[in-house]
Symmetry: C2
Subunit: 362 residues, 2 copies
């Protein structure tokens, strides 16, 4: 078991990474203050881990909410079922919510915790690779709006994050690959050595080699914890974590939530970011080729969905949270393993890259 810390002053919290954490009450009990605990999970994860989780909480008054599984359910209506459960069971301000599941469960449980009675505690138990390396860390919570991803939400830090790598054994291959997209992202942001390591070890990761997974998760969480500690509310460098996300969110919203997994959408988004960086003359074509090969080796898409067109992308990207005073900010690359925040890129150049990439998809 390894422990990292997200250093945020009085809101600091630990990330525990290891095997069989879920079955050991000690990792949870020190972070629960009241008597009431609500476990929020989904219909896929509940049959696998809910019983084990509740068993570790036998000293508390526990209840559970089981949500439908999928990004298409990350909305205000489904969020309301969490409030309903909390109020039905008379949960008060000292209660703790536990998110047991992937990114959707974590984002919704976190926002429910941020907004129930103006804020209660919560704990993240991410059970997918994507949520272990990304969404469970950093305090971004929220739900989608039909017009845009994650448009409604709050910054609300958890009391702790418990990443039990054993839970990855029940993850299906598609979800595993989606998680690898976020892992690759950390390499592309600022770690060329990690890119090299991923190129060498992708097969091991796909075969769920536990040492390789533990290494990739720890390195990803450490990267994220450092960036979040330096810029909690994303006024600057934290925006680098959105590499591939402006294009990716447009894919998720445009295709309908749940059609493309978040990791798949940002994989295609990162390739688009590389292609745009190349078009601007910031990286050469060999960098784009290496990124395409790495994504493909993780069984991830390298072109946007052929069902979309460039105008749809442009419209959807105009409402992205990275837009400031009408100007689109994109995360691009000026070298393999080094991303930068770019403002004021010529919309015509963006559209041209989108068109070419969409043509190659069809």
């Amino acid at each position: 078991m390894q422990t990292l810390t997200v250093d945020l002053g009085e809101r600091s919290y630990p990330i525990h990474i290891g095997s069989n954490l879920l079955g050991d009450p000690q990792w949870l009990t020190s972070h629960i203050h009241g008597q009431q605990v609500m476990v929020v999970t989904n219909e896929t994860v509940a049959p696998l881990y809910l019983k084990k989780c509740l068993a570790a909480l036998s000293d508390y008054r526990t209840e559970a909410v089981i949500l439908p599984d999928g990004e298409q359910y990350k909305n205000l209506d489904v969020l309301n079922t969490i409030y309903d459960a909390l109020l039905t069971h008379h949960f008060d301000r000292r209660c703790t919510l536990i998110a047991l599941g992937g990114g959707v469960v974590g984002d919704m449980t976190g926002f429910a915790a941020a907004s129930y009675q103006r804020g209660v505690n919560f704990i993240q138990i991410p059970t997918t690779l994507l949520s272990q390396v990304d969404s469970s860390v950093g305090g971004k919570t929220g739900v989608n709006h039909p017009r845009g991803k994650n448009m409604i939400g709050a910054f609300h830090q958890p009391q702790c994050v418990l990443a039990d790598i054993d839970t990855l054994n029940t993850l299906d291959d598609r979800q595993l690959s989606a998680g690898l997209a976020e892992v690759i992202k950390y390499g592309l942001i600022n770690d060329i050595e990690f890119v090299d390591w991923l190129e060498t070890n992708m097969d091991k990761l796909l075969q769920r080699d536990s040492d390789a997974l533990a290494y990739a998760i720890k390195l990803s969480c450490q990267d994220k914890a450092d960036i979040v500690a330096a810029d909690e509310k994303e006024s600057g460098q934290r925006a680098l974590l959105n590499l591939g996300h402006t294009f990716g969110h447009a894919i998720e919203t445009g295709m309908g939530y749940g059609e493309w997994l978040h990791g798949e959408a940002i994989a295609a988004g990162m390739v688009l970011a590389a292609e745009l960086s190349h078009q601007l003359g910031w990286v050469d074509s060999a960098v784009v080729a290496r990124i395409r090969t790495l994504m493909a080796s993780a069984n991830l898409p390298i072109t946007p969905p052929k069902e979309m067109n460039a105008q749809q992308f442009v419209d959807l990207m105009a409402v992205d949270k990275k837009v400031i005073d009408g100007k689109l900010r994109l995360v691009l690359m000026d070298a393999l393993g080094n991303s930068i925040i770019a403002e004021g890129v010529d919309p015509k150049v963006i559209e041209g890259v989108l068109k070419r990439s969409l043509e190659s998809a069809s």
Copy 2:
């Protein structure tokens, strides 16, 4: 014009109180950072003040959302219409929301601002007495849930509060009285001299004497600002501001949102708190009589609605936000002009007081 400050470190903000503030752009412009401004108001206030407000914002890109009027519309569905408008008009994270209206508009606009793109700026322009003396100050934002008042929300402080007392001239008498309930509350919490002043000046307030109103508003805002500065997130003394609110919220929820105005419900709630304090031997019957007389002189109800029964109160109060680890905390009185937080009051005594009061109502 008078200015008070809510002292919250980097989240400090001014409250401007005076005549003709709404028509003067200077009070708004210094608190708006981006170019996009969304004015949120309701169908009653819009015909009276929206044009004037937009005229003061002519240097910005403005849009407006007009909500239906009433506590029954303070819910997630109506909140969603604010998100819709923001996204339709491509509002980004640098936008500013302006709440132009009473407490419902302020609470909903504040929560929309707290949760849109994980938090944007907002300004309060309260146009009712109740919102000028209470709900616009202190950063409590949120919406109701069918099972409880203000159960979904956030602490989110405004950039400034603009209390233009001219707007009270268009307020109907019932709303004015409802606002006086919150004014009386400040006296009952910790200011016997203010209670004396209110007993002497109630007629002037009901006749909308502008000096009397300005004095009452300033004193109320100063009281609230001091309490909020000392305890922003209500871990202690801020709970005193809930005098009459646990009973009052039960009335609002039990009768259906919008039936009783918030101020009316907490007026009856404060009388119940006085009666319970007397039953416990903490104040004598003369104190209860003086409070009843003061409420009645403001044309406020002094008994709970006869349509409710004691069991309904007990059930609804059990989900109040003041419940901690299953224990109900009530704000009661140990003297006229001095309130205290009481925990563990015998539920049978509470029920007895409710039953007697409900009988006298029928």
